[in-house]
Amino acid sequence: MSIRVQNIVKRFGAFVALDNVTLDFPSGELVGLLGPSGCGKTTLLRIIAGLEAPDSGQVFLDNHDASTADARERQVGFVFQHYALFRHMTVFDNVAFGLRVKPRRQRPGADEIRRRVQDLLSLVQLDCLADRYPAQLSGGQRQRIALARALAVEPRVLLLDEPFGALDAKVRKELRRWLRQLHNALHITSIFVTHDQEEALEVSDRVVLMNRGRVEQMGAPDQVYEHPATPFVYGFLGAVNLFHGRINGYQLQVGEENLPLAENGFQSGTEALGFVRPHELDIDTDLASRAGIEARVERVLALGAMARIELTGAMGEATCHYEVELPRERAAVLKLSAGQIVRLKPARIRLFASDSQSAEQAPYLPVEHMVGGYGENI
């Protein structure tokens, strides 16, 4: 079943949680709602579920306006970050709850309930735990039970609010893969909220990036990663290096230095931000060359197939931090050591006009050095 939200606005006091959000969630897909905390993604999910009412805007479930429908009537499955299992009920009773509270005419018989709960428990591979209480389960098991409970009422859509947020990294990775398999088997329209970009890119058919109550971009994982629409998306999906400069024909002038650019639509003299992924930067130890930007090696981390090199460069008053990823062999050839001065050469630069929105919101900007100024009366 498809979901559509249209012009949703939600405020909490002066804080705008959702600012005119319109989105289409196609039928049968698993969509990841991704964004930093406070971007409105959980609020949007709760509005779709009917647990929160929008100030204005509509929610369509299967092309029917469900905006005024009660959460009970929407037939959605909701999985909470902290599981929200009924602590005084056994696993079996938890899963059976949705069936048992149905009005008498729609309620299946006791045998039918037993059969369906058993089926669901084997679906989440926890049939042996039916008599346990939630407190006797691990976090990963609890979340799987929560999912079985949500599926018991045969929801038309499945909404997951940071389902793996409270779990440790290893369990999280397992459950992620398991959720993907489950979705492949069930094909129920699902939306899941996360602030973990890796999780969103790995699990979803489609990713929605949100920031400050607005949708920044929606697309397939590789599409949003390769072609970020806004500086925010660029910064949020993976590490990024930032070069603040001025367009000068086919060059980006950064301080005293110049970076070569390909064809670009900018006028000369425009202030611009250049984004470069760590693996798109190369290091040149030949200081005689005038190409690239000068930087100082701070740390070399050779872990696995890639070596990560952290550098600092001096640009104006702010110290910039750079990160470069090189294949390990390349790093070995360069023989880098801390304190060494090198030149950074980007293979590809993505440009955004400096005044373009949300540049200053991006989480990757270099930290400005705060200087002095406490006054003398202290």
Binding site: F86, H88, F97, V101, Y133, A135, L137, A150, A152
Partner: protein, 301 residues
């Protein structure tokens, strides 16, 4: 399972005591303990013992005669009656208030929370007086009540009203922090699963607050039966009609029937002891269920 928790807990306490950094010198310990024990004995244990000693001073016969006397019996019945009406009322009011405050956001929530505490901060005599001023013969509704031949003040309804007012906070005060700590998620989960408001309350909310609720009701009942000030103002002290046990004790004492007064008082003291036993049991049960769950999840992780 709980042995594990207990073991860990005692280890921590023992470490705290054995550690030179956190240990007090012996004389400090001894002095503090002596003061505490003296205080405990003088102000708590001695009065309690005195009640029973005085009650039985003239022997068991006088003791039972005092309890079997018609006025004493009617005071017992009246006390039970008032508690039987006031406690269920406050169970419902307290539950409703706690539910509203803990699970919903609305304008004036802070005001309601403060108002619930009002009976604790107002002198019980004032509480009684309020009802006299409203429902008494010279009060706002006095003439109307007389016209319609309804007796509020110096009658059972007045006693119930005063008792309800004085014991209002017990259940709500007990439940609000508990319900706030438990959050709204389980209720939300139930609602999304299609449960009606009533079913959500009955199957999800109520089982979670069971022990807290019983605790609140026990305290509420103890106070309802023992209340003196507010009840004294609205009662009129009509023997055999509007005298509750605490009022009866006072009357007997004023009439120099000390043995009888203490005999009736010993009933109230027994009630207090019983309340303490139930209260400890309920606390222990509540802790037990909490500990087991925490402990098991610790073992698993």
């Amino acid at each position: 399972m709980s042995a594990h928790v207990a073991a860990r807990w005692t280890t921590q306490t023992r470490r705290f005591e054995k550690n030179a950094a956190t240990r007090e010198p012996a004389w400090v310990k001894a002095a503090l303990m002596t003061v505490a024990l003296l205080f405990f004995g003088l102000f708590l244990l001695l009065p309690l013992a005195t009640v029973f000693a005085e009650a039985l001073r003239k022997g068991w016969q006088v003791y039972f005669a005092a309890l079997a006397e018609p006025d004493a019996r009617s005071a017992m019945v009246l006390t039970l009656l008032v508690a039987a009406i006031a406690v269920p009322l406050n169970l419902i009011f307290g539950l409703a208030a706690a539910w509203a405050i803990a699970k919903f956001d609305f304008r004036g929530k802070q005001l309601l929370t403060t108002l619930i505490d009002l009976p604790f901060s107002v002198s019980p005599v004032i509480a009684g007086l309020i009802y006299v001023l409203i429902f008494g013969a010279q009060g706002w509704f006095g003439p109307w009540l007389i016209e319609n031949d309804i007796k509020m003040i110096f009658a059972v309804p007045g006693l119930v009203l005063a008792t309800v007012f004085v014991t209002f906070p017990f259940v709500a005060r007990e439940l609000i922090p508990l319900m706030q700590a438990q959050g709204r998620e389980e209720e939300e989960a139930a609602i999304v699963l299609g449960a009606s408001g009533w079913k959500t309350f009955w199957y999800v909310t109520l089982p979670n607050i069971k022990w807290g609720l019983i605790y609140g009701v026990v305290l509420c009942n103890a106070r309802a039966m023992g209340e003196f000030g507010a009840v004294s103002v609205v009662s009129g002290h009509i023997r055999g009609r509007t005298n509750t046990l605490p009022l009866h004790v006072e009357i007997l004492y004023n009439e120099y029937q000390f043995a009888a007064a203490f005999a009736v008082a010993s009933l109230l003291a027994l009630l207090a002891l019983l309340t303490l036993v139930i209260k400890s049991f309920v606390e222990w049960q509540g802790r037990q269920s909490m500990h087991t769950s925490q402990n098991i999840s610790e073992v698993i992780q």
